[in-house]
Every structure is written in structure tokens, then in C-alpha cells.
Amino acid sequence: MTPETAPAGTFHEFMERARRTGTLVVQPRMGFGTVERMRAGLVATKNADAATVGTVTLDSYTRVGDFAAAERALRAGDELNGYPIVTLGPQVTRGMLDGVRDGGFPVQVRHGSASPGPIFGALMAAGLDATEGGPISYCLPYSRTPVNRSVHAWREAVRRFAALAETGAVPHLESFGGCMLGQLCPPSLLVAISVLEGMFFAQQGISSISLSYAQQTHPGQDEEAVRALHDIAADLLPSISWHVVIYAYMGRYPATHQGALSLLAAAARLAKRSGAARLIVKTASEASRIPSIADNVTALRVAARAGRAAERDLSPPATTGIEEEARSIIERVLDLHADLGRALTSAFALGYLDVPYCLHPDNAGRTRSYITDDGRLQWAATGALPITSAGGRPKAGGLTSTELLHALSYVRDRYDTGAFAHH
């Protein structure tokens, strides 16, 4: 199945089919600064021994809207940390994708921009139909843009993207809300932000979305969170098409080959057991550099194999209250305003949404988290979050630099020393 041109709604249709058949789709986090290397990366992803979708991750100059810097780097031959889609223009990108992207191999653009208008424009002009991010998840951790302005920029961009439906395509948008700084954000808040961003997308007219969750510190806690995400989304997004995407650990990654790949395999098991349809992988070289194409292909193969070896777990999960906390946060935010963009902006101003350790000026900064002795991520301080948390931290006062580094390195150290290798 390799049609000459990509049919409309490629990403949406491919994922719907995978979701129905219970196939775990694996996807790299891949972006290169040159057309040749980007195309080679996509071809290698397509040919990997796994059910894959392709990724074009953009460079960080493009992410912050500094297109002149991207242009300068291209001219100087400086290596970019991603694909400069705006600077290269739609014809170049169409050519790069020609004969690679098709009905059996959709491609998603990943970026990280709080002001995504030009990026949406460029990817739509290149004929692409899938991207990701969100007004919160690409604002707070990744920029210093005020939340209010990010919401406006995202509202405009998403509405334009939704209008692709008039051409017969089904534009697909993924919330990055399940990541929030990558580590040390307790699961209930990740689930809440992911659902809220999904609802924001739906309110702008998007009919095909994915909700994310990034693997954290404890397999059982993660499974409870992803099952909660499914249950809440089923209630709050009844009339649109959606699936759950898992991100392999987004914090400090194990430095050893063995540790890195066993953490990835654990992410694949989490995805399969909890009913997620897609997994975004990390590679064995994550800790030291931007991964090569070969690193990515290995990761895709390892993840697909681990996913095939696991089964969906349909037994009632042991719960610790993640779903109740997430629902409580979501309901309080929804009550603020019928327009979700305004509700989200006010929620940060009031501290109903407050991400631990986030330095963004609009984040209240009154929440804190810690890792319990059994490896769960727990609230140390809940600020004005509309939850009553059972777990308070015994130790008062702030974290020291050594304690912070220890918490940030918890997963890395456990996997590098083989403490988690028993799975």
C-alpha cells in the first residue's frame, strides 16, 4: 500500500485502524537540520520492524520564532537541533516527504512553540495533517510567553488547522499536557492538563485528538494514571475521536545502554497494559547526545517487541486516588468559564493549576512534589490546587541542590544500576 500521494486524513485514519486492532504504534522523537538527513530518518523509521509513524521534530530557533537565526545557521553550515520547517518552506518539505509519507506511513510535526502560528502555516502548506502541543504544555515549560498570549496564539492556529476539515482531511492534534517539565509533576495534574488541552482543541473544532502521559517513577502508579486518563476522556470527550499516547521517560535518561533500553521496554509495557495506542520512544544514547537514525531504529524495534510481549490488563486497578484528584482539578477549571482558553488562563492566575518547580512567571509556584520511599511521585505541597492530598511531606522547607539532583536522577540511577531490570 504505497499510493503516489498521501490521502487526506492519513494520521487520523492510520491511528483509528491501529486502535481498533490493538496494535501499539511506535514513533521516534526525531528531527534533523538538513533535508537529506530528515528524509533518511523518516525512511529508516518507515522500514523499521514495527508499526511506526514518522516524526519531524523542529529546531529550537523555529520553536521560539527566530527564523533569522535558523536561516543564519543553515547558511553557516551550523548543525541545527531539528528541522527548520518554516525557513525551508513548503516546497522543500513536500519534496522531502515525497514518496515517504503515504497512507501506511503518516508523519507528525513536533515542535514546542507557545506561538505556533507560523509553524501550523508551514506544515499545512506542506500538506501535513498532524501535529501536537498545546496552549499550556508548550507555554509553561518551554517559553516565557504569558499564558494569556499563548492561549490566543493557539486558539487562532488550531482554528485554522481545524478548517482543514473543509478540504476533506481529518486534522489530528495531540496534547503534550502529559509531560509538563518531564519529571516530578504528580500524575493527577498531568492527566488533568492533558484532558483540559484536549477539550480546548475540541472547542476549536478539532475532531481527532490524542492525549498524552509521560512515564514517571513507578509502573503501578503510571498504570493507574493512564487508566484514569482513559476513563475521564471517555466521559468528557464523548463525541470526538481520541487515543492515548505514552511518552517514554522524559526526564534524566539512563546513561547505560542496558538501562536506557529497559526503561524504554517498561514504557512499552505501560502503553500496552493500560490500553494506549501509541508510544513515543527514547533511545540508548538519549543521555549524551541527539540520537542518531540508527539509535532510533533500535529503539523502535525494542519498544515494538516489548509491546508485543505485553497484554492489555482489564482487571480492576488498585487505586490511590489519581482519578479523583484529576477530576477535581478539571471540574474546578471548567467551572471558571465556558471558554476553555479563558478558564485555563484564570486557572493559572488562581493557582488551580500550578506545576511544581516550573519557573514560568505565570505559574504560582506554590506546589512541590517528592518521590516516596517506594518510588511514587507524591505531592509535598498542593498550594491552591483544588485537591485534598493525603500525602504531605514530613520534611519542611525547600529542596537542596543535592536533593533535587537526587530526585531528578532517581529513574536514571535505578535503571543504570539494574534495580528495575527484573521485569
Binding site: 527566530d66 517559553s143 533535587l404
Partner: protein, 155 residues
């Protein structure tokens, strides 16, 4: 006047801490801030994606005893040149120690080569790899011994 008396009157050394304009990573900034505060420094942490103009404004408002640039997104070697050129062009900042650290290149093998280039461009310290944090601690101890040497507070 005894030396201890002078020590007591000495203000805490002050630093401005920043990423580069395109770098969104903040865990490194939080860690460096805590490390500096534990070593007796007062820190203004500018957070993710600080534009060069913002770093200049903040450093000119209250001239710091040290400026620290921490970046890990691989564009550091490119952006750090603009940062140091802008800082050194300001007479009041031309002698303030500026330390740069993190992951500076997309690929690790190019990193050692750019360390010398960036030092030549005006950085007082360029810290990469496993030795970066111990070297930074020494630098802090050294600089804290002479606060106010470079800084001139503006009224």
C-alpha cells in the same frame, strides 16, 4: 577593624543566571540556582528562553558579581557567542566574570573544540562534562571571596 567585622558587613555576592534565547530547559537552571544560594549567593534566575536584551537589562539594572549561562539544547555554542559579545560591549559589564556551562553542541565530539573558542570569545569559564559542577563550585568559592570587585551598584 578586625577581618571578621569586614566579613560581616560584606554583602552577599549577586549573580544573574540565564539560559540562551532558544533554550527551554529549566531543571539545569533550578539546580544551579540552588547550588549558588547554598554557597551564599543571591541569584536572579531569568528562566527559559531569556532573550539577550533581557539578560542585558537585568545585568545593567544591578551589575552582578557573576553572570552564569547554563544551556543544554545543543545550540549553546552558537548562541553563547552572541551573548558574550552583547555583554562585553557594555562598559559596565566588560569585566564581570561570565561562566558558561552545560551541553553546548548537538554532538558531544565537537564539544571540546568549542570550549577554547568560547573562552577566546570572552567567557571566563566554559564548563562541560563531568568536571563542570566541581569546577563551578571552585569558581563560586573564588568569586565569593571578592564580591563587589566588578560590580558597581547603580543608585
Amino acid at each position: 577593624m578586625s577581618p571578621s567585622c569586614i566579613t560581616e558587613k560584606r554583602p552577599k555576592p549577586y549573580a544573574v543566571l540565564s539560559s540562551t534565547p532558544s533554550d527551554s530547559h529549566t531543571w539545569n537552571l533550578l539546580y544551579v540556582q540552588l547550588l549558588m544560594e547554598e554557597n551564599g549567593w543571591t541569584v536572579t534566575n531569568l528562566g527559559a528562553c531569556a532573550p539577550v536584551a533581557m539578560l542585558l537589562d537585568e545585568s545593567l539594572r544591578r551589575v552582578p558579581d557573576m553572570i552564569v549561562i547554563s544551556t543544554v539544547n545543543g545550540h549553546g555554542a552558537q548562541e553563547a557567542r552572541q551573548v558574550i559579545a552583547a555583554l562585553r560591549a557594555e562598559p559596565s559589564l566588560s569585566r564581570v566574570p561570565v561562566a558558561l556551562g552545560g551541553k553546548l553542541c548537538v554532538s558531544e565530539d565537537r564539544e571540546q573544540a568549542v570550549v577554547g573558542e568560547l573562552a577566546a570569545a570572552g567567557y571566563d569559564a566554559v564548563l562541560v562534562g563531568d568536571a563542570a559542577v566541581p569546577a563551578f563550585r571552585s569558581l563560586l568559592a573564588e568569586a565569593a571571596g571578592t564580591p563587589g570587585q566588578h560590580a558597581r551598584r547603580r543608585a
